[in-house]
């Protein structure tokens, strides 16, 4: 009996090398989106040629323009083209909108009984919107915060779409024990969605602080972490507390003192963050996932 149990354990043991292999099998992002992703920390980039390439993808262009015209930016006049969006909102913001649209569109909804893709994206989008509000409060880069918030749980999508059976076990254990999903992942897979997310964002060549925010968003000790990690950690918690994912079984993670201290949230500021997050959230969900 004993050797059998050991072999089952080994079967579930997911290694980084294995994850990288699986990531290669993920649906490819279009060439222009890959170019945009890898340009996140580059300043010298041919904006005109990128705008032209994006305009050739009609679905991507249409969704990006709907986002640009949403209350997220509160523009007075309608933006009609990618070029116009870049001129008015700036290249950085448009890049955030395009990569957001492309990434949310790139993970097809799988066939798993337990994983709720709708809740997943609702929570990810809420965290992105909330992270942007928090970044504005501490005068950090709002586009970085939005993207890092959107992607903080992306490791879950790798696990649920590439390790579907094992992840069913994780979700079953989580439900039976009413534990945090992170603990169930560690118990069954010996890795977790934060670590897998780090591998994916490194593969996508995201800036290092964004990779760290994904990797450490559940860490309780954040003394050595940067502001972006603190923003994503707290945004994740605030949006769970606001109950925005429509997941009946949602659990608010435990707050890291060091992250909380960095953000200096008073009752007045948190009320403002809550209100702005809820104001923008539903509209962005409508555009991206419905």
């Amino acid at each position: 009996m004993f050797p059998f149990i050991v072999s089952v354990k080994n079967m579930n043991n997911i290694l980084d090398a294995d994850i990288i292999k699986k990531i290669h099998e993920l649906p490819a992002l279009s060439a222009v989106v890959t170019e945009l992703l890898s340009s996140i920390d580059h300043e010298e980039i041919d904006v005109d040629s990128i705008a032209t390439k994006i305009s050739h993808d009609q679905a991507l262009t249409a969704k990006t323009l709907r986002l640009a015209n949403s209350s997220f930016y509160g523009m007075q006049h309608k933006i009609n083209s990618i070029q116009e969006a870049i001129a008015i909102l700036g290249f950085r913001s448009v890049r955030t909108l395009i990569t957001t649209t492309a990434i949310t569109g790139s993970f097809a909804r799988g066939h798993t009984s337990r994983f709720n893709f709708q809740s997943f994206w609702r929570h990810s989008i809420a965290t992105a919107v909330c992270a942007k509000q928090l970044a504005s409060h501490v005068k950090a880069n709002q586009d970085y915060a939005f993207t890092a918030g959107l992607l903080h749980d992306i490791g879950k999508l790798v696990l649920v779409t590439r390790y579907t059976e094992q992840y069913e076990q994780v979700m079953l254990q989580r439900a039976e024990q009413d534990s945090y999903i992170l603990d169930a992942e560690r118990a069954i897979l010996t890795t977790d969605h934060a670590a897998v997310g780090k591998v994916l964002t490194a593969y996508w060549k995201f800036p290092e602080d964004m990779q760290n925010a994904v990797a450490h968003h559940h860490d309780i000790d954040q003394a050595n972490e940067g502001m972006l990690t603190a923003i994503v950690h707290i945004a994740d918690i605030l949006t769970h507390a606001l109950d925005l994912s429509e997941d009946e079984e949602a659990l608010v993670p435990v707050i890291s003192c060091s992250a909380w201290d960095k953000l200096r949230l008073t009752q007045e500021i948190s009320a403002k963050v809550f209100r702005e997050t809820e104001k923008q959230f539903e509209e962005i969900c409508q555009i991206l996932i419905n």
Binding site: A241, L251, V252, V254, I255, W260, E268
Partner: protein
């Protein structure tokens, strides 16, 4: 039972009644509880950088009570693993105050 709601000052309108003394960062009272807002006082508060106010709202007391129960029960479920922490408990108060104008009890 007092029905208090927190509101962005931008959304406030003349005639609304202040529910809690509005103080500046030095603790000086800008507007006492019970005062009614006027267009002039809203402008003056905006100039002072005030962003949030608590106002008295007139809703059916029974509905209000049900809503408070609902928010309270949902918060206790969402925080069922983390409510023992000091900061986590503070956040429950923040959300409760935002939703129903009073702390979680």
């Amino acid at each position: 039972m007092s029905n208090i709601r927190q509101l962005a000052l931008e959304q406030a309108e003349a005639g609304m009644q202040i529910a809690v003394d509005l103080k500046d960062s030095n603790g000086n009272i800008l507007l006492p509880s019970g005062a009614s807002l006027t267009d002039a006082s809203i402008k003056s508060l905006l100039r002072r950088g005030v962003t949030e106010i608590s106002i008295v709202c007139e809703e059916e007391p029974v509905d209000q009570h049900l809503e408070q129960e609902r928010v309270r029960n949902r918060l206790s479920k969402l925080f069922r693993k983390s409510h023992a922490g000091e900061l986590d408990r503070l956040l429950m108060d923040y959300v409760s105050f935002y939703r129903i104008g009073k702390k979680y009890e």
